[in-house]
Symmetry: C2
Subunit: 122 residues, 2 copies
């Protein structure tokens, strides 16, 4: 009996890139390699613990790469792995849908905003 059984494809996807932070991290890594501190500044709400933890898991699942520069002070760069690159299209669509969703909620009178859009319609 397999140790892990999924009933539908999306379950496996969520298992790897699901959660509160992973999609955000991956979205930032879509366009560039980033150092730990850069990611931390790009995602101000995340705690240092969560950031490291999520990066470790993404690395373990082969989605991102972690390159350590042996120097003082330390320097570590994270980037999408070739396999992680297969997610960029989906990540892009997830970003766009979220932007549309916020617009929709604003039009609906909700007090919500989004700081960085990657698509400015019209």
């Amino acid at each position: 009996m397999p140790e892990k059984t999924y009933h539908i494809g999306v379950e496996a996807t969520i298992d790897v890139i699901g959660g509160k932070w992973k999609p955000v991290i991956l979205c930032h890594l879509r366009h560039q390699t980033m150092r730990t501190g850069e990611l931390s500044r790009a995602i101000p709400q995340i705690s240092q613990k969560m950031l490291t933890q999520q990066l470790r898991e993404l690395e373990h699942d082969g989605i991102i790469t972690r390159q350590v520069f042996k120097q003082v002070p330390p320097k570590v760069e994270y980037a999408l792995s070739p396999y992680g690159e297969t997610l960029v299209q989906i990540l892009h669509e997830l970003c766009l849908w979220g932007e549309d969703n916020v617009e929709r909620r604003q039009a609906n009178g909700e007090d919500v905003q989004i700081l960085d859009r990657e698509n400015v319609p019209n």
Copy 2:
């Protein structure tokens, strides 16, 4: 100051369709309207409490519709709303990616399986 601030589009998306169960529920509703019991049987691992809770949230966010038939025994049908339909493409891709991911892990010697594929390559 807005009560809800997102820094990037994908955050808003995750806020609405993120979590362990919502993507699975939505994937099932892509192709058909389903009754509560049908969903429950289609997702055997979910508890009744979680199923109801997630359905309520999806309904509240305008992703699905809930139609109650006034009869005994009760009958309730859930379906994607027109707005929810804007997610079908993304959901489809999430399913496919997960299926590929499982194949990749299997090829890597991991003891993992997926029961229902929607795309059987080759």
